[in-house]
Amino acid sequence: MTAVRQPEGVGEVVDPIPGAGAPHLPEQPDLVQLLTPEGERVDHPDYSLDVSDQELRDIYRDLVLVRRWDVEATALQRQGELGIWASLLGQEAAQVGAGRALRAGDMAFPTYREHGVAWTRGIDPLHVMSLFRGVDYGAWDPVATGFNLYTIVIGSQCLHATGYAMGLQRDGGEHAALAFLGDGATSQGEVNEAMIWAASFGAPVVFFCQNNQYAISVPLERQSRVPLYRRAAGFGFPGVRVDGNDVLAVLAVTRAALAAAREGQGPTFIEAFTYRMGAHTTSDDPTRYRLASELEEWKLRDPIARVKAYLARSGIADHDYLASVEAEADELAGRIRSGTLEMPDPPGTAIFDSVYAEQTSELAAQREEFVAYHASFEGGEH
C-alpha cells in the first residue's frame, strides 16, 4: 500500500504498524505526568493535585485490590468458572484515577473492561462476575451506583453519555457524565457523532479514552494517523494526553475536565496513554500479533509499582500498611472466588421477565408454555 502523507502541522505521527517495536511513550512535552515510572513526584504547569496522605494510601489500596480481583477472575475463567474475562491488567491507574475523579451524582458509562471504575463506584465485584459467568447482564444498579451497565457494542455508550449530560444540563445540576472508550472505538461513527453532539450542545461530558495501543489485534495506527487527543480540536473542544499509568496525573486531569464540564465549559477528550498488559480477553492469543519485548518494556512503567515506590520512599506508607493491603487483597480474592462458585444459576423463567416494563400477553403466554413444557419433563412424560 502507498505511503500515507503526513498531515501538515501534526508533527508526531503514531508509531508504524506491527512488529516495528513497542508503542513508545514518545518524547512528548504534551504528556501529563505527576508521578514518574520510578516513583518520583513531578510538577506539571497546568495540573496540580491536592491529595492527602490518607488519600494516597487509599489509591494504592484500590490499585492493588483491583489488580488482585482481575488476576482471580482470569484464574476462575481458566478453571471454567467464567465464560470469558476482559482483563484490565496494566490499566489500573487509568481506571482508578478516572473513577476517583467522579463524585456522587455523576454518571460513568463504561465499556466491558472498566472493573477498576466499578470498584471506585462501590460496586460489589460479584455483581460484575455474574455477567462474565453468564448469570445475568451485570447485577449492579446503574442508577444507585452512578455506573451504567457495561456496553459491549463498541462506542454506543458515548452517545448515551452525551445524552445523559444533556439531561444534566437541562436539570441545571452540578454533575457531569464520564464516557469510557478504547482507542479502537474512536473509529466508530457513533463515537464521532457523540463528540459532535457534545460540542454542539456544550454538554457536560468527558470522553475518557484508554489508549491501550490495541483493538484486539489491530494497532492504533490503523485507527488514527494523529495522536488521538488531537482529534478533539477538530470537534471544537480540548484534548489532553495523560500518562495513563500515572494514577495521580489521571486523577488530576480527569478532575479538571469534570470540573470544567460542571462549570458549563463543555466537553473534554482525555487520552490515557497506557498498555493492555494481558490478552484482549481470555479468548485471545496476543502472541499472534505482538512481541513479548513490548510487554517487557511496558512492565517498566507498571502503574502500581511506581505508587508503591513513592509511598515507601516518602514514608507515607510503612511496611505494615503495605502488608495489610496484601492481606486484604488475599481476602478479597477468596471472597470473589467463593462468591463466584456459589452463585446460583438463574431460573429459566428469567428469560421472560423484565423484557418490557409492561408485559405483553403474548410473552406471558410463551412463559406459561415454557413452564408447562419443562414441568412435563419432571412428570417423566418424555
Partner: protein
C-alpha cells in the same frame, strides 16, 4: 476425486483461499482478519500469503467496512466483508439495507454489488451478550439482498466460493458453534447450486426444515425419533432468501406434516414465511398445521440460560409429537 477431512472453519478458510486465487479482484475486509486471522481464525494465513492489500485489517467501524465495500465494488472489486459477531452487524445495517441492497435496482443494473457479508451467527458457545444472535430475518426481509446459511463443511467450502462469484450481494451466515465440526470435503466437485435446498435425510412421517446450526439438531432429532419408530425427513434449506421450497413441497405432500426449526425468535421469523407458503401450496396434503420451533420472543439470554432458550432435540421432538397428534 480429491477429498479432505475439514472442519467447517477450515473449509471456509480453504474456500476463501481458492476464491482469492481464482480472482484477483477478491478483497477480504474486516476487524482482526489479517494478522490475527480473525477471532475464529477463518482467514488464518491469508494475509501472509496474499498481502495486506487483499486481506485488510480495517479500522473498528462496521459502517465503514460496508460503505467502503460499496465503493470498491463500483471499481470492480469483489469485497468479502467479515462481521466479527452477529450482534455487531448493526452499525453497518444502514449501509446494507439502504445502499448495498438497493444500488443494483437504482442504477438499473449499471452498478452490480457483488459483496459477500460473512457473519458468524447463532448461539450455543457460552458467550456474553451480542455474540449469539440470529439476525437472518432482518436481511431476508430486505429486497435486493440474498441470504444463505451453511450447515456443514462441504457447503462451507463450496458455498463461500459460489457466493463470492455471484453478482448480487449475499449475507453469508456461518453457524459459529459448528465451526469445529468435521466432514469429508470433495474439493473437485461442487455439491450443487448455491440457492438450493436439499433433503439430507429421507423419511415418511414428518418433514423437518432447518438451516445453519439447526440442521445438526434436526438430524439428531431424526435419529432419536427413529428409535421410537418414527421417520423424519430432514431438509437443509441452505438458502434463506431466495427460498427454494420445491423439495419441501414435494416432501410435505408425502408426509403431510411440517416442522420448521431455527434459533431466531419465532415471531416473524423465517418459519412464519415458510409456514405460509407451505400452507398455500400444500394445503390439501396437510394433516397438521405447520409448526415452528425457535427462540422465544426475548433478548438472547445470559449464557447460563441459553440451553433453555435454544431449540434442542427435545423441543424438535415435542413439535413432532404435536404434529403427529393432530
Amino acid at each position: 476425486m480429491t477429498s479432505q477431512t475439514l472442519t467447517l472453519g477450515k473449509a471456509l478458510n480453504l474456500g476463501l483461499r481458492r476464491a482469492m486465487e481464482d480472482d484477483a479482484k477478491v478483497v477480504l475486509m474486516g476487524e482482526d482478519i489479517g494478522r490475527l486471522g480473525g477471532v475464529f481464525r477463518i482467514t488464518d494465513g491469508l494475509q501472509k500469503d496474499f498481502g495486506d492489500d487483499r486481506v485488510v485489517d480495517t479500522p473498528l467501524a462496521e459502517a465503514g467496512i460496508l460503505g467502503t465495500a460499496v465503493g470498491l465494488a463500483m471499481r470492480g472489486y469483489r469485497p468479502v466483508c467479515e462481521i466479527q459477531f452477529d450482534g455487531f452487524v448493526f452499525p453497518a445495517y444502514n449501509q446494507i439495507v439502504t445502499q448495498v441492497a438497493k444500488i443494483h435496482a437504482r442504477s438499473r443494473g449499471r452498478l452490480p454489488m457483488p459483496i459477500v457479508i460473512r457473519i458468524p451467527f447463532g448461539g450455543g458457545i457460552g458467550a456474553v451478550e451480542h455474540h449469539s444472535e440470529s439476525p437472518e430475518a432482518y436481511f431476508a426481509h430486505t429486497a435486493g439482498l440474498k441470504v444463505v446459511a451453511v450447515s456443514n463443511p462441504v457447503d462451507a467450502y463450496w458455498g463461500i466460493q459460489q457466493a463470492i462469484a455471484h453478482p448480487d450481494p449475499i449475507v453469508f451466515l456461518e453457524p459459529k458453534r459448528r465451526y469445529w465440526e468435521k466432514a469429508e470435503v470433495d474439493v473437485d466437485a461442487a455439491p450443487g447450486p448455491l440457492f438450493s435446498s436439499r433433503v439430507v435425510r429421507g423419511g415418511d412421517d414428518v418433514t423437518v426444515l432447518a438451516y445453519g446450526p439447526m440442521v445438526k439438531t434436526a438430524l439428531q432429532a431424526a435419529d432419536a425419533a427413529a428409535e421410537e419408530g418414527r421417520s423424519l425427513e430432514v431438509v437443509d434449506l441452505r438458502t434463506v432468501s431466495p427460498l427454494d421450497l420445491g423439495p419441501v413441497f414435494e416432501s410435505v405432500r408425502r408426509t403431510g406434516r411440517c416442522v420448521v426449526v431455527h434459533e431466531a425468535p419465532v415471531t416473524l421469523g423465517l418459519g412464519a414465511e415458510i409456514a405460509a407458503r407451505v400452507t398455500e401450496t400444500c394445503f390439501h396434503s396437510l394433516e397438521a398445521p405447520v409448526l415452528r420451533v425457535g427462540g422465544y420472543d426475548t433478548p438472547y439470554p445470559p449464557s447460563k440460560l441459553e440451553e433453555e432458550y435454544l431449540p434442542d432435540l427435545d423441543r424438535v421432538l415435542d413439535a413432532v409429537d404435536r404434529a403427529m397428534a393432530f
